[in-house]
Amino acid sequence: MHRRNLSILALAVLVSAAAGTPLHRSAKVAVAPGSIEGTISYTGTPPKMRPIDMAKEPTCAKQHATPVMTESVDARPGNTLADVVVYVSAGDQGPAATQTVVYDQKGCQYVPHITALEVNQPMEIFNHDQTSHNIHPMSKTNPEWNKSQPPGTPPLHVTYAKPEFIPVKCNVHLWMHGYFVVLNISHSSVSNDNGKFSLKGLPPGKYTLTAWQEKFGTQTQEVTVGSGATAKADFTFKAVQY
């Protein structure tokens, strides 16, 4: 809805620019975009991640010097959490995301473990392993599918039309898990190895931010972004061991 209004506005700007009127975009957006940064952390004891035995898939096992661990709670030093999706759940939608999201199957893992994308944003799914994978995003709102990718097959081209948190598994390697977080906005970020996230290019205004962790659920908070300013928003999840 918001986007449609923007397009109408843009059309109006173009028409009026053609008509020689002084109204144009830069004049309207006289303020500089701001950003939001923050850290995701946890209190309590997070569940123990377990080493994954990939012995049955030697071409993958040999890619890892130390065993790969399960990734459902990616606890990092300083009680921070990686792989938490932070997104604008109320506020500016942002421009439509057009850059292609790359999702890789490498070393019998999904890389990245979690990817956030916008509805209709193109995604390419690669298999860079010497073994067949069968990627199975278990969507409920969007059409569900699973596709085999033998080694050397070209990437799959995928888009999702509706927002949804989609768990992804491999039908061949049952330790392989990930998430497609399909959002109806482009302002999203996944916390990095230090538990930090940042959302850039936000027009000044009020925002509701939501942080989502696959085991601990969601948290929200209100943030106000000033012109050209960087607002802080930290989230703390309560970890449970079991």
Binding site: P47, K48, M49, R50, P51, I52, D53, M54, A55, K56, E57, T70, E71, S72, V73, T131, S132, N134, S148, P167, K169, N171, V172, H173, L174, W175, H177, E214, K215, Q241, Y242
Partner: protein
């Protein structure tokens, strides 16, 4: 083409066929006798009985096979001349008694092999496991095996299929939050066992039928959804070998395998301790 040249050609074709049948019979018998393609060396206590039984079956069916092929070759050679003047001899009473006699003969052979062989099979599969066996719970699923050890407390935690969550590594559905016996359970993707100790496997399937096949152990047993199937054995040599699924179970069937590691007692304890620490 004159009748005489037709007879001549028939004789040649018949003799070539007789020679080919003889050659194929001798080569295939030679392959079996030389054991070029044979089972891998046995590492189990009961395996020698199976091997003896396989030998007996192979010898008895092999002798019959060689005799039948050579008789076939002889008759083709002897009667390849298409001499239509000869009186045709038939089995007494015609085709029906011949088929009945053949069925009885072949049936008797198969029945005899079954009765003799089932004694060996039963001595392995239909006997009680050693009470001091190390019990390991085995879950087969598309397309992997998971082996569960009771951990230091010696007790298996209860299984709650609704709690299965592969993304967290809870492959079998343990409930460590409420079930203290489950907290120290060790779940491994490889079957690691101590040598010379009786092992009791409890096989159960999460989804469809699978199989547990280790040629070196001379064991092949299906998993059946809804059943817990016990299998017991003792490995008498340290080894590292493959466990494969031999029951077509879906897309990734070809890729369904795990490793069996037979370790010395000390190495096994070390492995257990490492697993407990994880």
């Amino acid at each position: 083409m004159t009748p005489s040249s037709g007879r001549h050609e028939g004789t040649i074709v018949g003799r070539i066929f007789a020679i080919l049948v003889t050659i194929i019979t001798l080569i295939s018998t030679g392959i079996f006798l030389s054991r070029i393609w044979w089972l891998p060396p046995d590492i189990s206590q009961h395996g020698s009985a199976i091997d003896r039984q396989i030998d007996e079956t192979m010898v008895s069916s092999g002798v019959l096979f060689v005799l039948a092929q050579l008789v076939l070759a002889f008759f083709v050679w002897r009667f390849a001349d298409t001499n239509d003047q000869r009186k045709i001899k038939t089995f007494p009473g015609g085709a029906t008694p011949m088929v009945v006699v053949a069925i009885i003969l072949v049936g008797a052979e198969i029945l005899a092999l079954t009765l003799v062989g089932s004694r060996v099979w039963a001595s392995i599969y239909v006997t009680a496991p050693d009470p001091n066996s190390l019990t390991i719970d085995v879950q087969a699923e598309q397309f992997a095996y998971y082996f569960r050890y009771p951990g230091p407390d010696g007790k298996f935690g209860a299984l709650h299929p609704e709690l299965i969550d592969a993304s967290s590594g809870n492959f079998v559905g343990l409930d460590p939050a409420n079930d203290t016996a489950a907290r120290d359970d060790i779940v491994s993707a490889s079957l690691v066992i101590p040598v010379n100790r009786p092992i009791l496997l409890q096989l159960h399937a999460k989804d469809v039928s699978h199989a547990f096949y280790v040629p070196e152990l001379r064991i092949q047993q299906d998993f059946v959804p809804g059943l817990v199937i016990p299998v017991h054995f003792t490995a008498i040599r340290t080894a590292r070998t493959e466990i494969v699924c031999t029951q077509l179970c879906g897309l990734g069937h070809y890729n369904m395998r795990a490793y069996l590691e037979v370790k010395t007692d000390a190495d096994f304890q070390k492995w257990l301790n490492e697993q407990s620490a994880q």
